[in-house]
Amino acid sequence: MKGFLNKLPEQAIRVIVVFLVLAAGVFVIRQFIIPPEMKEPTLQKLSSMEREADKEVKYAGAQACGPCHEKQHDIKKTGYHRDLSCESCHGAAQKHADNPTDVKPTSPQKRDYCSYCHTYNSSRPTGFPQINPDTHNPRKPCITCHDPHNPKPPQTPRSCTACHAQIERTKAASYHALLGCTVCHSTPEKHKLSPRTVTPTKPDTREFCGKCHDKASPGKGVPAVDMNAHGEKYVCWQCHYPHMLGGI
């Protein structure tokens, strides 16, 4: 070893010493200065779990409200908001659960709270109740007409456009503008009250469209095709969107 060191030129030894000092510095910092939780993933996980567990519990949970607020709970159970937890609207209520008389949870009274979910946004699922807050009874609090525990339209819609305005607008510019919705869809009366459980029918056979568009049909000025040769096994609306302008 000594012979090897003697063979090395002095400048190489100096550089090696510098690197050794740096390496020793890293070793000392890692060994003695950095706390063990920063090095050991298990310890790190444990300490973060402890830290999280030490945090104050703010939410009482979905089961906590029912026993005292039986009436609201029962109404909500069957309504459209059944999957929402009470605290989604009333805020964190652990304090209220601990001390029901002195601490009262909030309840949103203004329009802006409901509009978090019900303002029109194209990315929301089809059929989800959405409104334009600027035109839908401006400035009137939502709860004057809708019961938040069982939200339903305050009156039964009279025509399809009440809910399906977008389709109506598209259809109005298409060749099918003069056809009423019920020509193609048969709609049970119950659909107006319970729109998602009772749904209208959709034409599901080629013959239905053929009533007007088959060559043999009596319609005048209507595009007609030979239903036996055109489109083979496909149902018409797989290629032609009936509400769209032009129908193709």
Binding site: E10, Q11, R14, V15, R30, I34, K39
Partner: protein, 398 residues
Amino acid sequence: MEAVQNFMELSQQVVGFIYPNEIEIHWSILIVVYPYITGLVAGAFILASLVKVFNVKELQPTYRLALLTALAFLLIAPLPLQLHLGRPERSYEMFMTPNLTSAMAMFGFVYLWYLMSVLLLEIWFEYRRDMIVWSGEATGLKKWTLKVLSLFSTDISEKAVAFDKKTVKVITVIGIPSAFLLHGYVGFIFGSIKANPWWSSVMMPVVFLFSAIVSGIAIVMLLYMIIMPLRGGKIDMKCLDKVASFLFYAVIVDFSIEVLDFIHRLYESEESIKILSQLVTTKLFMSLVVLQILLGMLLPLGIMVVIKVFKLQEELRRLLYFVCAVLIQMGIFSTRWNVVIGGQLFSKSFRGLTTYKMELMGIEGFLVALTLLILPFVILSILIKLLPPWKREELAGN
């Protein structure tokens, strides 16, 4: 309130559909500056290695300058990242508690390896003899700075100097793959983001590498042409012509690879192609088509072809080289801009584009970026004062 106003302004600029978290881009001008600076480091080093490893004797006058340039830029390279991330005092933790599965976290080690084991060592061995000699001639602070920098080494025997030379050669050989690793890594960071079709490409590290070589050679050429006369020397035209021809080859390779990448994307025509072509023809038209391709690549290529074909006078050649180097710098900066900013301008829904509005004064703003781009030159001027790249006799001899 200002943030809201800013957001509203941006939302006016959005074209098509975009997710809410994509309206404001997150990697700003600082992240453009970062690959630009590391590219200059890698490129300058490659130029230096041509002298030592490939024995291109004509380039000797630029060797030390290239090393110092690489060091000056390398010292600033992590700054944009630290300013962008905040809490720079915590950055040492990256080395103390390494995260081996994160490519970004490994940057620290790539950087450290390149700085400590390649660049500083090479410069130290290259300058050691001179530092000992100069510290003998100098007085006061400079004497002691040089003494400390030479680690109080005193041996300037022939045997010791021969050892220095040998070590420099070995380090340069190790340095070439290291320089490739340093900048290839920066490309890898972008290329490995599979959710972003503008970035996700195995070509990315290669494109980054060659554009780095182009920009590094161009910056050393530019600095050589400016500093040499300032220090009272004369520009060595043989050296300059050689640098320029290497630059010419590097630009050709870089251009071919970029065109290949472009054609590949067009032919592959993945689902993102429509939004990407919209991006290129609208938001990036100026920075990609005009600045990067036309002014930053085709024009300098054209000029260099003219220089090679027609035997121009020295004076005119110098002027044209200067113009080329400036254009190339601008072009490569645009390349970095187009990668970093361009990759964030389109929605992951492929249906819309947003806009980048650069701040002027803020920590991620134009002035900070400008300062970061100027700082390496300040450091370089100090380095040149302390460790002159050319000896007096070389300046006089020229």
